[in-house]
Symmetry: C2
Subunit: 166 residues, 2 copies
């Protein structure tokens, strides 16, 4: 759990990226990168700050934001916004090149899944609209199995069928 372990492949890739751009490879940048790679979840900046502090590092939020910006630009890390009012970050090493998210509106748990149907959607968009897809985002919000088993019901409010006349 220390942030001082010998450089992982991820850190090495990040260092290379920085060096290619002529940017210094600082201790702080390595530490932030290390935290992001060490987790397989979707980290908030507070999560990252907490993990750093737990590892004995004391790095300012500004530096964390600035480093995350570099990580996102290097494409080693992906930025997510699940509508919580802040961003979350996830490394892009190994597994699912395309991975979508289902988010439980009750407990907030984020689970990933794959959807090859999206290829079809992108092809249609390309041929039918002449649109060139680069990046996509599919999020399904609902109730996870655990919450359903726990008896959670979704309370619908609002008009049942607003679509009537035009």
């Amino acid at each position: 759990m220390t942030t001082e372990q010998a450089s992982s492949p991820f850190i090495r890739l990040f260092s290379r990226y920085l060096r290619d751009l002529g940017l210094p490879v600082t201790h702080q940048r390595e530490a932030v990168a290390q935290v992001v790679i060490a987790s397989d979840g979707h980290l908030s900046v507070d999560d990252i700050e907490g993990a750093l502090r737990a590892g004995g590092e004391r790095i300012g939020k500004a530096t964390i934001y600035r480093t995350l910006d570099l990580l996102v630009r290097s494409r080693l890390v992906e930025e997510h916004d699940f509508g919580e009012g802040f961003k979350r970050y996830e490394h892009r090493l190994s597994n699912n090149p395309i991975h979508e998210h289902m988010i439980c509106v009750e407990c907030g748990t984020v689970t990933e899944f794959e959807s090859n149907e999206l290829y079809r959607v992108e092809n249609r968009v390309r041929t039918e609209h002449g649109f060139l897809p680069v990046r996509r985002r599919l999020e399904i919000y609902g109730l996870c199995k655990d919450c359903q088993d726990a008896g959670v019901e979704l309370t619908k409010e609002g008009l049942i069928c607003p679509i009537e006349i035009a």
Copy 2:
């Protein structure tokens, strides 16, 4: 373009919603609702405020936010976040019950399209993960036809293939 025209079906539905909840139907609420229904685009709060001002109304931002909250809860209006740092709002009358968005990363234009493939995805999520879908969001970011025709190229930066070793 006046906000004082006889109540449209939309306004009537909204009034009914408010009355059902025992809430007053105020002039401001009708004016905000009128602006949202009068546009077929994706409005920011500033857009709405501007349209109100252009119509001779002077309504505070706080009231606009509070009214939008009611409109969203009534399900007459949908809230979107395209990652611009603020929200956009779109009425849900008529057309596409399911409509996804493709967003041009160059000019910001948002175009809607339908994707029945999503039904399949939701079914899979339900059967494979026991997840109960309620709401979904699919956004495809890329280059619209106009920007491609105008010769816009996407400059890739970052590591080409970060996925190597684990």
